[in-house]
């Protein structure tokens, strides 16, 4: 195969061209209520050719290696159509490397039967929890992805990744009141990630039942304490996306706002994106342009110090590459994305974060988030009222919104207890979903957060 790829590269007559071949094997098990909805293995293989010429890309995908030469011609034709005269790609030194999956216990060596048993065990815990539990959903997934990446600059990479994870949801119902609680674990550490979650499943069931009795949150402006999971979603939405340089590379106004040195938060706020954290779900090693992943500070001591780049945006802005060009699979062009994004640890104990809050919320678990770069929204699984520094009763339907220029400055404290989360979902951008990412944070406290409701 290598010799075919190299032969194909010889056909290149554009500024730059790369070839990506990929093979994936995905095993999924889905329990939906009593039924095992799905248990099986799917395979996908294919590749793509990306050509760059005078400022724009041509991109062609294919299923079979027999079509590689045709795709090389097609990508070059598409790249040449445009008469854009944009800048080139940031220069990087070519690399030759082979990256193996870093799993200790390889999920692919376990039988489908064993995986079905595991999912059933978790599912039975949910369904056996009493008549108010109406239904369940348990998902097991492992995914082997092998990628070959070759470029006309001499980069040659062979990368293997193995993702493995499990998620479980409990649906509780009381008349027309239906509530859901959920948790997930997923990373690139191997099969042990999905084992021994019996207690976690029991907790999910309990939360779904408790939510039946919880009141809807009253809309208003609150001081909130976020748990590490939703604080991770918060920083992903609130600042991670804004740090993606493709939004600003050709936008002078936004560039000005995002100037290095601009203050975005208190001096104890540090935000990092790091694709080199082996084992995490968002670990990449190299990005999909063959650039080595690294630890990139986005905010240091409250001040903006960096952002996330592809080779194109780095060149456009005259900055260094960061290793953040990613595609969900071979059939998509790499675009600027996050990897493992987190708020670094601070110095507050949990009790200190609660201190002095007269009317607030302790917000836990993340159902999702969305941003339009300035304003963003993220939603919690559940929350507890905080009255005079004490945690009180549970409330539900907590959707929080914020504004990047105010909310980060409204951070009033950061805990010591940093946790990173992967799970089985991912991030969506420009039609590419789900991209495996991790996010995380310690507990944090923020004032003046708008929460929707009556």
């Amino acid at each position: 195969m290598e010799s075919i790829i190299k032969k194909a590269l010889e056909l290149a007559a554009v500024e730059y061209l790369d070839i990506r071949l990929e093979e994936s094997v995905i095993t999924q098990i889905v329990y939906s209520g009593k039924e095992l909805e799905k248990a099986g293995t799917n395979k996908k293989k294919g590749g793509s050719v990306r050509a760059f010429h005078r400022g724009s890309f041509g991109f062609a995908t294919f299923n079979s290696i027999d079509e590689l030469f045709k795709a090389v011609e097609e990508a070059q034709r598409l790249a040449r159509i445009s008469e854009t005269k944009g800048p080139g790609l940031k220069r990087v030194d070519p690399v030759k490397d082979r990256v193996k999956a870093h799993v200790e216990d390889n999920p692919l060596e376990h039988s489908l039967e064993e995986k079905v048993d595991l999912a059933r065990r978790y599912n039975d815990i949910i369904l056996g929890a009493g008549e108010k539990v109406q239904s369940s959903r348990v998902l097991y997934e492992d995914r082997l992805v092998k990628t070959y990446f070759y470029s006309t600059e001499g980069t040659e990479l062979k990368i293997e990744k193995i993702y493995c994870g499990v998620s479980f949801a409990s649906f509780a119902r009381d008349g027309s009141n239906v509530q859901m609680a959920f948790n997930s674990f997923g990373d690139q550490r191997g099969f042990e990630t999905v084992l021994n979650h019996e207690t976690d499943v029991e907790e999910v069931v309990k939360h779904s039942l408790d939510l039946l009795k919880a009141e809807k949150v009253e809309g208003g402006v609150y001081t909130v304490v976020l748990d590490p999971r939703i604080a991770g979603t918060f920083i992903h939405e609130a600042f991670g996306h804004l740090s993606e340089a493709d939004h600003m590379a050709r936008n002078e106004k936004l560039k000005k706002i995002m100037e290095r040195g601009a203050r975005f938060g208190p001096d104890y706020l540090n935000v990092i994106d790091d694709g080199s954290m082996v084992g995490e779900r968002g670990y990449i090693g190299y990005d999909d342009e063959g650039v080595r992943a690294r630890k990139n500070y986005l905010i240091k001591d409250g001040v903006l110090v960096g952002r996330l780049h592809s080779r194109q945006t780095a060149e456009l802005m005259g900055e260094d590459v960061t290793g953040n060009a990613r595609a969900i699979d071979f059939s998509y062009m790499p675009i600027v994305r996050m990897t493992v994004t987190y708020i670094d640890r601070g110095d507050k104990d949990f009790d200190e974060l609660l201190e002095g809050i007269e009317r607030g919320l302790y917000v836990i678990g993340a159902l999702g988030g969305q941003t339009e770069l300035e304003m963003f929204t993220f939603s919690a699984e559940r929350a507890y009222k905080i009255e005079n520094g004490r945690i009180g009763e549970m409330v539900r339907d907590v959707v929080l919104s914020g504004n990047v220029f105010e909310t980060l400055k409204n951070i009033e404290g950061i805990g010591k207890d940093l946790v990173l989360f992967g799970g089985l979902g991912g991030c969506g951008k420009r039609g590419q979903f789900p991209l495996p990412v991790s996010d995380g944070s310690p507990h944090i406290r923020i004032k003046n957060v708008v929460i929707g409701g009556k």
Partner: protein, 431 residues
């Protein structure tokens, strides 16, 4: 394809199905006022479902040269699969529908259009960064099964999307317009006018009161209020009895001025197709008629669980099992133009886009949305853009308080939606 079919025939199976899909798309993408990329994407593969000892097995592959492997995986999966209470359908009469126009859309023409729009906007909307995607794609589906079905269809897709981003006194502003059809698009110059109008209104900021206000949802934002219905009507949630619409066919569930139609036969509409992804013919049918629930979205699997017939709403890719969804969802339009609804608004908000759709308890019908682009209207006039403002409620409640529905609609892919005006929605604004 035939090799896989022949391999399956030789196995001792109660039933089997081969779903073949081939897609070819050719998007041209402009980013931040520059031509960014031209792409040619091709994908082809098969999904195999088998019924073996009463259980369902499934596997998919795009390696068509190895028919044995995908059949083997499907059989292994059937050891654990769901118990099956349905059979694959035989051939049936299907309508000839308007879903294919191979006229095409040359790359050069699309680049020309993109460049012309950028040129035009350069003068009219300085500092606005434009992203555009002009796409032409084709899709072939072939379904073969053990009951003798051999259903074949070919569709073409033409779409144009444009979004503008600018930074004004009211902060970051995003505006978006699109047009999509199965046949070549008519001129879409009107979209540019709409885009500019929104940009102009977004120049000023306005503060809305908090409390129960009149709120008008434009089609693009209304989509977020349809999602809870999509979840509630979905046969999967009916079968699991977690949808609030379970066992309520024939009951009035929302206001009688609301009608939801699923029409998979509407000429050239995005979701139109002669048969669904299991080979069941699609029809035009009421989901909610004058506020009364008439039916659900069902495929073979979910229909067998609730003791009904498939409604022809199965959707899938070759890599996944079918799951029910709308073909084309049409909310029946009203009598008045949307401009008049806004003119008649004494105090309220018109919402064009939201942030955070789908993050609430969709099953319960709840929504809690951050207004992305929305304007405060006083005495029929747009005062300015509202920000840091949320609107929340429950669709099964607020669709009882619709006081106006527009005559004009917008087709957002398979969703054909009017403007809908609600009485008394909870608005929370940061004072």
């Amino acid at each position: 394809m035939d090799k896989i079919f022949e391999t399956l025939k030789k196995k001792d199976l109660e039933g089997f199905e081969v779903y073949f899909e081939e897609t070819e798309s050719n998007p041209i993408i402009f980013e931040q006022n520059e031509l960014q990329s031209l792409e040619k994407k091709f994908d082809r593969g098969v999904g195999v479902r088998v019924i073996h000892r009463g259980r369902l097995g499934f596997s998919s592959t795009n390696d068509l040269e190895r028919p044995d492997e995908v059949v083997e995986y499907a059989l292994e999966s059937a050891k654990y699969g769901e118990k099956v209470n349905y059979t694959f359908p035989g051939p049936s009469e299907t309508e000839r529908l308007q879903i294919y126009s191979d006229e095409g859309w040359p790359e050069s023409e699309r680049i020309e259009i993109g460049k012309r729009i950028l040129e035009e906007l350069k003068g009219l909307a300085k500092d606005v960064k434009i992203d555009m995607e002009l796409n032409y794609s084709r899709k072939k589906v072939l379904i073969l099964n053990s009951a003798g079905l051999r259903a074949k269809m070919e569709k073409t897709f033409y779409s144009f999307e444009i979004s503008g981003f600018t930074i004004t006194e009211s902060g970051f502003v995003w505006v978006y317009e699109q047009k999509a059809s199965l046949k070549p698009l008519p001129p879409f110059d009107d979209l540019i006018g709409k885009l500019l109008e929104k940009l102009e209104h977004a120049n000023r900021t306005a503060r809305s009161k908090s409390g129960e206000l009149k709120v008008v949802f434009a089609p693009q934002a209304l989509f977020s209020l349809i999602r809870p219905f999509a979840v509630g009507l979905n046969g999967k949630n009916i079968a699991k009895k977690i949808s609030p619409l379970t066992d309520r066919v024939g009951e009035k569930i929302i206001g009688e001025n609301i009608t939801f139609i699923d029409d998979g036969t509407k000429p050239w509409s995005w979701g139109t197709r002669p048969f669904d992804d299991e080979g069941i013919p699609v029809r035009k049918r009421f989901l909610i008629e004058k506020g009364v629930l008439r039916g659900y979205l069902l495929d073979l699997n979910t229909s067998s669980k609730v003791g009904m017939q498939s409604t022809g709403n199965a959707f899938r890719k070759y890599t996944s099992l079918p799951s029910p969804s709308f073909n084309n969802l049409i909310i029946e339009p009203g009598e008045v133009p949307s401009s008049e609804i806004l003119k008649d608004l004494d105090y309220g908000i018109v919402v064009h886009s939201v942030i955070g759709g789908g993050q609430s308890n969709l099953l319960a019908g709840d929504f809690s949305l951050n207004i992305g682009l929305g304007f405060l209207v006083e005495n029929g006039e747009i005062v300015g853009r509202v920000k840091d403002t949320m609107v929340a409620g429950n669709v099964y409640d607020c669709f009882n308080r619709v006081y106006a529905i527009s005559k004009d609609t917008e087709a957002l892919g398979p969703y054909i939606l009017p403007y809908i005006a609600f009485e008394k929605l909870s608005v929370t604004s940061k004072e």
